[in-house]
Symmetry: C2
Subunit: 255 residues, 2 copies
Amino acid sequence: MPRFRMTVEYDGSAYVGWQRQENGHSVQSALEQSILALTGKTISIRGAGRTDSGVHAMGQVIHADLERAWEPHKLRNALNAHLAMANEAVSVLEVQAVDETFDARFSALRRHYLYRIMTRPARLALEAKRAWWVPKLLDHEAMHAAAQELVGHHDFTTFRSVHCQAKNPVRTLDRLDVSRTGDLIEIRASAQSFLHNQIRSFAGTLKLAGEGKMTPADVRAALEARNRSACGPVAPPEGLFFLQVDYPGDPERQP
Amino acid sequence: MPRFRMTVEYDGSAYVGWQRQENGHSVQSALEQSILALTGKTISIRGAGRTDSGVHAMGQVIHADLERAWEPHKLRNALNAHLAMANEAVSVLEVQAVDETFDARFSALRRHYLYRIMTRPARLALEAKRAWWVPKLLDHEAMHAAAQELVGHHDFTTFRSVHCQAKNPVRTLDRLDVSRTGDLIEIRASAQSFLHNQIRSFAGTLKLAGEGKMTPADVRAALEARNRSACGPVAPPEGLFFLQVDYPGDPERQP
């Protein structure tokens, strides 16, 4: 059956998360229902990452096996028409025909995420569901320095949810950069794969570094503790954006 | 009575517009209700500009006369606490004590607006209520060239709503710049004051210029026709953001 790779954008505010589940509407369900509406077939799609409720995506990647060899841009437009009719906050940005060796989850070489923090005294109106509001200044240079203690090949037990289902807590974190533009602090994280809640755990801990409550050495000690209780409070989902996934043969892109 | 100048941000999606009216909840009502909750007094505030339903603001300015000489940051925090409790998409960014000669509407020297257009084949998810979706490429240089025909002192009858209540359709447009970053086209407009629907009328007409359907000479002819029917379709409200208002004595700021 023809396999298609799709790049998907969504506003996670209205969904129980990426993954199909019993207790509410998921992004995966929204996409599978648009495929059902178009093709008459109930299929299961696979995404590169499982985002939690409230987490957004600009570049989630999925694969789907369809019976027909659609022209990619026609498939994109038809699925978007069904998503629009169903009033979903989901958009198919791009469709490519791929061979059956492509797997959105298992072929991924690297995943890129962005975590946004707005630091200002006034509550958020326009950015309310698109950033974490922190009503005080944070020292983004201290956050960046602390973040560098986390980059590399480590056991990240401290920074994963107790519900994380991964067998192995060891990951290689390629990038964890913190920068500031005005009131906005951006944390950019890249790795082949992440543990459940890993980036939100990083963001919560780096906020403490930005407040002067943790030094880089404290963050290193928290990592080395391999103990969930050493982690700062987990940052809320609305600041997190799944930006991009890289696969073999992709042209070079800056996330 | 002590007078306060306040800078206000809002997501216009949930409101019938800036102005208090019978048929729904307005941004003005949300702010007046937060003042009532805080002070026990029903007062009427005045804004620098009346935005339509769906139009956003990052820098609407209002003035309000209160009985008490609040410390500005305490007033800001208290109003934001009431706005949060009422679940309003409104935030008071800044409060300043001003003297009674300050009038948010009549003292304004210049108003600055931004109109955002997203040009891409796929529908909008994250930006759905924050930009006008145009599913084809637009030539932003052609749009900018056409826009320059509108800058200056003109009778803007072509570019105002038939419901516009201004007695005089003559205005001086100081700036109408069109630029592009990736899929996003930004139109930046500055003037002491604007007519009703003027910027959305500009945006709708400039889109035609970006499609090659109007030359700069056509836009000039539309202006000179002084006839509403010469205007392109009015662009939707969700692309429009009220950015900033300048008053005498303000420090120089880039909108």
